[in-house]
């Protein structure tokens, strides 16, 4: 594993499987009555959020606390592009505070990479979503969820499984991260979007692209609906919400096109009615709530591995942990 997690494109198949397998161990911890490991005791993890995301921040925070890390929430909303406090100054502050890892969410694509490549900060950098670029831990939790349903078992990948990702691919960091990771894990990905919301050069990506949702659903083992922001409508990406829903929304008729075993996913937050009919979101075909739970396990695994976890996470006893402390 590299020191940072910036893009799923940086993960080898072995890296990705190691994270998913470690997340399985972490999931066992989360099922215990005492949901805590001493693994990151004495380590400081900073959640640096330049953009509001209660869901992602909370998920990371729970993961960090279950690993006994010292957690600092650094909310810098609004200061990202404003004069005064630059990313560099913030990074230097965190470095001075001795951050071992920085989990960064930023509205600017590339901000986490900038941080990781700089010499402002020596700790690990975890990308918690940057602009319209990537959101690697979301993709990892999606893959984790898919594996549990479609090919369960430690060491298993997603070879031959078909995943359809639908919606505003152009602005979706979730889609970008998923395409890389699912490809690495052997899955076949089809992106479905109106042409205005399809990224330039998508034909060079390791996936298929289509404007026809019905055709893409019939073979899918998993379908992932993406969030569509209403302001896209004003920028003429599509004519009306109604037309979008008619052509790219997941309704009951379309659910019927899916194979019976196929699962329905959504990275959240959902716009019910627009991207996905409410009854489907609440049905047993949807694994949306599982995705949230799996997010904690996957983020625990990522932090554990980035911060030097070399032994199986779950066998840590108080004795071995004490030795670790001494050898630092």
């Amino acid at each position: 594993m590299k020191r940072h997690l910036i893009s799923t494109a940086d993960l080898t198949r072995e890296d990705a499987l190691l994270i998913l397998d470690t997340a399985e161990q972490m999931a066992q911890v989360s099922a215990r009555s005492v949901k805590k490991l001493p693994t990151l005791r004495g380590r400081t993890v900073v959640n640096l959020f330049f953009e509001d995301s209660t869901r992602t921040r909370t998920s990371f925070e729970v993961a960090e606390k279950r690993l006994s890390a010292d957690v600092v929430n650094f909310s810098a909303k609004g200061s990202s592009v404003s004069k005064g406090e630059s990313l560099k100054d913030t990074a230097l502050t965190l470095q001075a505070m001795g951050a071992d890892a920085v989990v960064i969410r930023h509205s600017a694509s590339g901000a986490p990479k900038l941080l990781a490549d700089s010499d402002w900060l020596h700790g690990s950098v975890v990308n918690a979503g940057d602009g319209t670029h990537e959101h690697p831990t979301q993709a990892l939790l999606d893959a984790f969820t898919m594996r549990r349903h479609l090919n369960p078992g430690v060491g298993h990948d997603l070879a031959g499984r078909r995943v359809t990702i639908v919606g505003d691919v152009l602005h979706s960091r979730v889609a970008r991260s998923n395409v890389h990771l699912l490809h690495t894990l052997g899955a076949e990905v089809t992106l479905v979007a109106p042409p205005t919301l399809m990224p330039f050069g998508v034909e060079t990506w390791p996936c298929q692209a289509s404007y026809d949702l019905d055709a893409a659903l019939t073979k899918a083992d998993a379908v992932m609906m993406l969030r569509v922001q209403r302001e896209r409508m004003n920028a003429a990406f599509f004519p009306t919400q109604r037309e979008y829903t008619r052509r790219y929304g997941l309704d009951v008729r379309r659910l019927g096109l899916l194979p019976d075993h196929a699962i329905v996913m959504h990275p959240g937050p959902m716009v019910r009615g627009m991207e996905i009919e409410s009854t489907i979101a609440d049905s047993d075909r949807a694994v949306i709530v599982e995705q949230v739970a799996n997010g904690v396990s996957v983020r625990m695994a990522v932090l554990y591995l980035l911060l030097g976890g070399s032994e199986p996470a779950i066998t840590t006893t108080s004795e071995t942990h004490a030795n670790e402390e001494l050898s630092k």
Partner: protein
Amino acid sequence: MTHYLIRNARILGGDPQDIRIADGLIAEIGAGLEARDGEQELAADGLIALPGLVDLHTHLREPGREDAETVYTGTRAAAKGGFTAVHAMANTFPVADTAGVVEQVWRLGRESGYCDVQPIGAVTVGLEGKKLAELGAMADSAAQVRVFSDDGKCVDDAVIMRRALEYVKAFGGVVAQHAQEPRLTEGAQMNEGVVSGELGLAGWPAVAEESIIARDVLLAAHVGSRLHVCHLSTAGSVEIIRWAKSKGWDVTAEVTPHHLLLTDELVRSYDAVYKVNPPLRTEADVLALREALADGTIDIVATDHAPHPAEDKQCEWSAAAMGMVGLETALSVVQSAMVDTGLMGWAEVAERMSAKPAAISGIPGHGRPVSVGEPANLVLFDAQYRGQVNPDSFATRSRNTPYRGLDLSGRVVATFLRGEAKVLDGELV
């Protein structure tokens, strides 16, 4: 005033000759000239002599952003780059849209003494694209402005552009357009292409440049005026200029050194040193631009030297300022992209970087051939030199160069302005 005898310089890359400089002029050229009393002899074995370079597109930042550059530091950088004249863009604070501001810039240039500064006047008041600035007053001022540009912004209103083209005919002016359709480039962060799609950065499509150039060449032809297109960056733009020239229309175009060498693949680093407007394009665009510069479709190289302080570049890509410094590396980059590749010789370099830009602006005393009786505006260039670019030695106040640590060909050894050495042994005098 020191007189110089330059020994064994290769004029435009030709056979070694001696050049005598006296009283601001090139006094004598020949083999084995005899040194006179009080003359300083300079050994120029292997060095190439070129006419002093002329930059039609420089941002000197003064007045208003003296933290990035001043006329003094910018002209020192220009001299180090082999330039004896630069044209200062109008997007300063206040904007150079009145006779007062252009005269101020012009006077600062004369006082700095390192190279001549010819101000460019804004086309519209405040660069706002709404109302013509007093173009005639700037033309009549001490600065004698002939080039007008809202550079940094596109004159996108077709009627305003038409009127500007028409109006400057009265005093032999030219409108230099920054071609960027504003709606198509809202929020644009880099070239729209495969790389922008992967990086999740909003794209600046080639058509946003090409559609404005197409409109403007038609407007210029319609009103019978002169148009100059700034910093061409796409293969499609080249085709439009080629077509306009085939019609015999009075259209000229420039390309920057960086658009001849760098591609949008570099943006993968998210290092804002590569953020520039127009953006770095693809390999195919770079090759088309090189070919067009070689065959004369693109008339000149212009640096678009755009200094920014570190804090405006060491930040998130989307928050970073656009632009890169270019004066001190221009000739080396052109050598790497055009000469070392066999596309152009040194005579063509002199044409594209001195004679033609001087002709477009009509600036007197520059862009003249290296021959007896001409003003001694001269560069000695060591094309054999190979070395890494070290921005810490730059004279410009800013360090936003994409070439840090890169191996580039060539080095300016000496620059003479009207017979006075401004740079010797690569150092400012």
